[in-house]
């Protein structure tokens, strides 16, 4: 089974040379730590920066330079700043190659829910609805089950949706899965996790074809 860093490490392998990548808050933010350093990648943050760098050294933080999680950041050589409308032109206009975000629920038809629990919690969708409605290449990073042990990979989402039919790939603490033809296809197992354990933790239709390899991280 993977921890949050393990999930981020596996997702980092999906980041290819020349990609512009938008990372969501939480596990997705960790992905930047594991991207190979022999490829050229630029990270976009929807609050208006392309070419995000690491966190600043203590004492060098600047209140005017933050990421979408409101954390202080630095920029890389070649970085740029822009306004919010232009930022979403990059996203809506499909200029960003890969979007990695978290989710509360994903359904076998590709629906995703991650912004609201009616009557309990409302944080808002932020940029998530724009991101999932526009991106062709979306990876969801999340735990396979919630804190109550219930599956987050469902037949249908029970929470208010963020987007419909948009998720194609999911990396969890247990597995890598792909969504095709309204089904979850199991691609890889996390180290030490059996197909049966993944099956038991997946409420939606899970297709297992042939031997499922263990992830290489």
């Amino acid at each position: 089974m993977l921890d949050k860093n393990g999930i981020a490490k596996r997702i980092a392998k999906e980041v290819k040379n020349g990609y512009y990548v938008n990372l969501g808050i939480g596990i997705p933010t960790l992905v930047a730590n594991f991207v190979r350093d022999d490829i050229e990648v630029e990270f976009q943050s929807e609050n208006g920066v392309l070419g995000m760098g690491p966190f600043p050294f203590d004492g060098e933080e600047d209140a005017d330079i933050i990421n979408a999680g409101k954390q202080t950041i630095t920029t890389m050589p070649g970085a740029s700043f822009f306004d919010s409308a232009m930022s979403f032109s990059m996203i809506r206009g499909k200029h960003v190659h890969l979007t990695i975000l978290g989710a509360m629920e994903v359904a076998e038809n590709g629906d995703i829910a991650n912004w609201k629990i009616p009557g309990k919690m409302v944080k808002g969708m932020g940029g998530a609805m724009d991101l999932v409605a526009s991106a062709d290449n979306i990876i969801v990073a999340m735990m396979h089950t919630n804190k109550a042990g219930e599956s987050k990979l469902l037949k249908r989402c029970s929470l208010p949706l963020t987007g419909v039919g948009c998720v194609t790939k999911i990396v969890t603490n247990l597995a890598v899965l792909e969504i095709k033809d309204n089904k979850f296809y199991l691609l890889e197992r996390a180290p030490g996790v059996s197909v049966e354990e993944i099956q038991a933790a997946t409420e939606g239709t899970l297709i297992v074809e042939g031997d499922i390899p263990e992830m290489e991280i």
């Binding site: 690491p54 004492g59 005017d64 306004d83 919010s84 409605a133 208010p160």
Partner: protein
Amino acid sequence: MINKKVNNVHEALEGVKDGMTFMLGGFGLCGIPENAIAELVKIGVKDVTCISNNAGVDDFGLGLLLQNRQIKKMISSYVGENDEFERQMLSGELEVELTPQGTLAEKCRAAQAGFPAFYTPAGYGTEVAEGKETREFDGKMYVLEPAFKADFAFVKAWKGDAAGNLIFKGTSRNFNPNMCGAATITVAEVEELVPVGELDPNQIHIPGIFVQRIFQGEKYEKRIEQRTVRQRS
């Protein structure tokens, strides 16, 4: 040169009334019009609608107006990190229109650019699109979103001049340029009001035509919400 300079925040907010709709720039606490917000608290204007990506934190930014119950309705994309906001929203005291962030920015830009509405894929099939016109283009579904209408836009820039020209710094730019000229009156506050002619015309982000009033801001706190650093090895 058409002079947009006013002497202080008090003059800049002349005409602000109860029940009006305001746009306020900023992402979290980054790039918020601190002086205008402080003056709105001081004036005590009530029942206002605020268009702003966030609502500050409990004790700063728009959180101050929330504490005073001055806001009737918020139009935002994200309200996390603000307990009072979430409390007022869940209890029904505060009307909230959650709007996808890119749609929020574009509704400002559309108002600035003279478009009555636009189609966006964001929110299609979700509760955000309920009751809205939808349409298919090239096999994909889109939602029709109207431009915002606002009485005042309060924005904050790094540098500006009496002609109303503005330059922003870092990610404090965010929604500020999109809100300029998107309301009946745009009020810009700047960290540095420089003499006309000093700003390089090639470097100006927002031309003065989009700004009605500009003033030198004071005592910027520029609070950091999530101070995140790495240690020197």
